[in-house]
Symmetry: D2
Subunit: 128 residues, 4 copies
C-alpha cells in the first residue's frame, strides 16, 4: 500500500480555520504523482512529451476536517477501471489517531497532444 | 438558474497548460457562495458566527479542459438531499461555444462550533 | 493607466478571515498578464514558444487587508528598468472607498529555453 | 539557523513548468510559522485569539527556478526592525547542489481585532 506523509500548512486553511475543500484535491494529486514515481512513471516528463494524464472523474467523501498543524498521510491504491481508464482509491488519515478524514476514488486517463486517448507503454506498469 | 461569470487566470494553469483539476473546486465554491449571496446567505458571516457550511461529498465529471484566457460560466441549482443535507448541481460551460466542461454534484451540510449538524434559520431560504 | 477589476473569492481568505498574503501575488500576476494582453503580448503563447517571462524581483508594501466580498481593482504601469529588465508599478485599490491596499513594484525579464536572457520582438511593444 | 525541508509538488508548477512565483510566498509563510512554532509561538492559536500576525512588507529576489520534484529547504533568521515590527531574512536553497534560489526579507507586525498594532507577550520571545 503506497503511503505519502503530509503536514497541514497554515495557508491551506480557510476562514473556517480548517483545510479548504479544494486543497484535498492538491494533496490527492501529489500522493498520486508520488505513487506513480514509485513505479517509475514521471508525470512531469510525460507532460513535457505531451502525454497528459488527466482526471475524468473524482468522487470525494469528506468525513472530518484537517486543521492547522495536523500531520496526516494518504494511502493510494491502483484499481483498474477499463482498457483506457485507471482508478485510484485514496484515503486521507490523520496520523495522531488514525482517523479517516477523506475517502476518494479518482478515475484518470491519458491523452496525447490532440486530446485523443493514448496509453503510453510506461503506463502499462500500472497494470502489473 | 443562477450563473456566475469567470475568466481563466494564467496562475490557475498547471504544467500541462490547462486549468489544474483542483482549481475547478475553487471555481465551484465561489459560484456556490455567489448563489447563496443571491439568496441573502452570507458564508463569511456564518463562519464568523461559528456556523460552518461544509462539503460532505463531491462528485465531479471532467469533460474537457479550460485553458489560458478562456471565458466560462458556472450554473448552480439547488437540490434538496435530506433534512440536514443540501445539494448543488453545478456545471461549467465555456462561453465561446457553450461547451460543457465539467458536471458536478456537491452535497453540503451545516455544523456548529462543536461540529454537530445545525441548520440555521437563514438556510431554510434554500428550501423555498 | 491600465486597470483590472476583481472581487475577493472566499477561498482566497485564510484563517484570519482576510485575503492571504500570497494571493496578492496571484492578483498582481493576472493584472500584469491582462496589461500585456492589452498590448498584444500573449504570456501563454510565449510560454508555449519557450520564451518565459519571469519575475526577478518583487517589492510589496501591504497597507490594509482585503476581505470576503470586497471589490477592488489593480492599476498597472510599465516602467523601464534596464535594457533587459522591465518594471511594473502596481497598486491594489478597494473600490468602495478608493483606499490603497497594496503598493508593489515587480521587475521581470524574459529568458529562452536554456534560461538565457532573450527579449523577443513582441516585448519591444512594452517600450513604445 | 532555523531550517524547513520541502519538496516541490507538481500542482505548484505553472504552464512554464516551474514553480509559480506566488507559491514561494506560501513556502516562506510556512517556514516562518515553523520557525515561530520552534519558539512556542502558535500562529493559529493567536489568530483564534484575534491577534493577527500580518506582513507589512515583502522583498523577494528570484535567483533561479525550482521545478517538479526538486527538494529544497528554507532558512529563516529573525532580525529586529523596530519596536513594533519584526523582520525575517529567508532564503530558499535547492538541496541537491546547495544553490540559492530565492533571497527574501519579510517585515511583519501584530494587530488586534480592531487592526491596531499589538505585540502580545508571546512575541517577546522573538526578541530573546
Amino acid at each position: 500500500m503506497h503511503k505519502t506523509e503530509f503536514k497541514v500548512r497554515d495557508y491551506e486553511c480557510d476562514m473556517q480555520g480548517i483545510v479548504n475543500n479544494a486543497v484535498y484535491f492538491n494533496y490527492l494529486e501529489h500522493a498520486r504523482h508520488e505513487f506513480l514515481a514509485s513505479r517509475q512513471i514521471d508525470f512531469a516528463a510525460l507532460a513535457r512529451a505531451e502525454v497528459n494524464l488527466v482526471v475524468v472523474r473524482a468522487e470525494l467523501d469528506y468525513k472530518a476536517s484537517l486543521t492547522s498543524g495536523d500531520q496526516f498521510y494518504i494511502t493510494t491504491q491502483y484499481q483498474p477501471v477499463s482498457r483506457l481508464r485507471f482508478g485510484f482509491k485514496q484515503q486521507v488519515w490523520r496520523s495522531r489517531d488514525q482517523k479517516l478524514m477523506l475517502d476518494a476514488f479518482i478515475t484518470g486517463t491519458a491523452v496525447n497532444a490532440s486530446g485523443k486517448p493514448f496509453l503510453p507503454p510506461e503506463l502499462q506498469l500500472l497494470l502489473d
